[in-house]
Homo-oligomer: 327 residues x 2
Amino acid sequence: MAVEIPADELPQVLVLAPPADFSSLESQFPNRFHFLKPWFSKLPLLQFLTSYAQSAPALLVSPGDRLAVSSNILDCLPSLKLVVTISAGVDHLDLPELRRCGVAIAYAGNLFSEDVADMAVGLLIDVLRKVSAGDRFVRKGLWPTKGNPPLGLKLSGKRIGIVGLGKIGSEVAKRLEGFGCKLSYNSRTKKPIVSYSYYSNVYELATNCEAIIICCGLTKETRHMINREVMLALGKDGVMVNVGRGAIIDEKEMIQCLIEGEIGGVGLDVFENEPEIPEQLFTLDNVVLSPHVAVTTKESMEGLVKLATDNLEALFANKPLVSPFVD
Amino acid sequence: MAVEIPADELPQVLVLAPPADFSSLESQFPNRFHFLKPWFSKLPLLQFLTSYAQSAPALLVSPGDRLAVSSNILDCLPSLKLVVTISAGVDHLDLPELRRCGVAIAYAGNLFSEDVADMAVGLLIDVLRKVSAGDRFVRKGLWPTKGNPPLGLKLSGKRIGIVGLGKIGSEVAKRLEGFGCKLSYNSRTKKPIVSYSYYSNVYELATNCEAIIICCGLTKETRHMINREVMLALGKDGVMVNVGRGAIIDEKEMIQCLIEGEIGGVGLDVFENEPEIPEQLFTLDNVVLSPHVAVTTKESMEGLVKLATDNLEALFANKPLVSPFVD
């Protein structure tokens, strides 16, 4: 029979703010960590940290926290050795500050790549073939009275551009090969082992493609990289899918282009100010809106708990991290 | 300058009932045929045929006609040599009667296969990953207040069963290979050149798969082939996509299984009594409803006009049909 260790004797893991489903997440962690949960305390966050988290070596964060891990927080955590973020993106972390403090980062790595790629293809088919719009059409009872809905566009054989050919972009490409698509990509550098056409900037990519799929991370360089010029280059039948980060697209310009018919449609899993979304998007039929779920499946959530546990246990056992983020 | 031939001197093509978009379709046909359009006449159909279509050698039909091409119609068309159906299915044609009358059939053949396969994969991703449901969730403004929607299921790596491994089924399989899916299939006979697992009946297929995609035609044998037993074998997380014909699934039993949670979800492009759909389906969130558009894209409609034209011209030039249906 396993002996239950008192919580106080377990290694401390600070959770900055509860992930949306932390209670269910926590129940899946083995009896292995003592989670410090400042949101249950009446103290202001920084005071809680100063009072209770001085010796916490590990911090668990999620991109939904809205609390950037930056100097004011790190200054209260002198024992911090590791931040485990349950995300593939790290734009909610102050990387230079973490580096300065000597704090390592473990992240979801490639855990989500397949799920995100599946969703990207799903959104692409949905926008081109008007799947969600067709579902709305049928549910409103319009089929018997209005007859056929507007025609969709074919996916097979289309020229598709992938923005960011990392793990996710490569998985998207692999899937689209099965559809006979002609693939090209944009990334910081040309990949020597890839046969797809390379364009050194997104404008050229959009000019030469019928659809683009945004799979890159958000950085200073990629913020609003998809601007009006890129959308005009994509053209009136052109389609965009975004499974990266919302702010990679200039959202205001995108809405203008959609309303003016300057682009054909968009499938978005991410938004500039999610979960708030510009209401104008709700009125458009050539838009598929997804509540940032490209990474979340039953399977990926189970894998995430295991990966976070494995990284924390590696820290406490002085072993190499399972999925370290290397800047 | 091309000389316009008077309509009366052009070869006659009878159109039994207008396809939903016949006026736009007709405008795309070259000035090559004289279309007889009984729906513009005050005469009852059979009387119109007897009066005006005695010498018509060709008949253009679409599966949406709701007028089966059967003996009462064929008896009025003694000169008929060819039925051109703008569909890949032929279940609206009385094949024995056409054979008896010596009338050839041209059909859409494989023209739609890629589009249908694209849509099948799109519906599969939509049901598993809850794309349309997510779009509804966001458009209703629920994201900021309700937080995360229910988790979807992963597609990559899933065991997928294909019902009917003809041209469409094979195209679906090709696409799903890119997602790392483990494929198996059911068909009348085992295909010697295919490496996917073969099951001689759909019950066994459903038992061994997490999702099935129905790609076969409607025949006496396949009507209600997907019955309650098959759905129970598929199981509570199991998913079905139907791009074949509605009546292949026992729709009443399917609705019962969905309501009882006996299957996980369905993506349907076809229905037993379309465009009428059981309203119970409108209330279910694990259902994607598509108004029979798997075959219709801007590109396929253009290809269809060309194929119909080529078949009709082949008839009038005494040449072999471009896409004959061979029973």
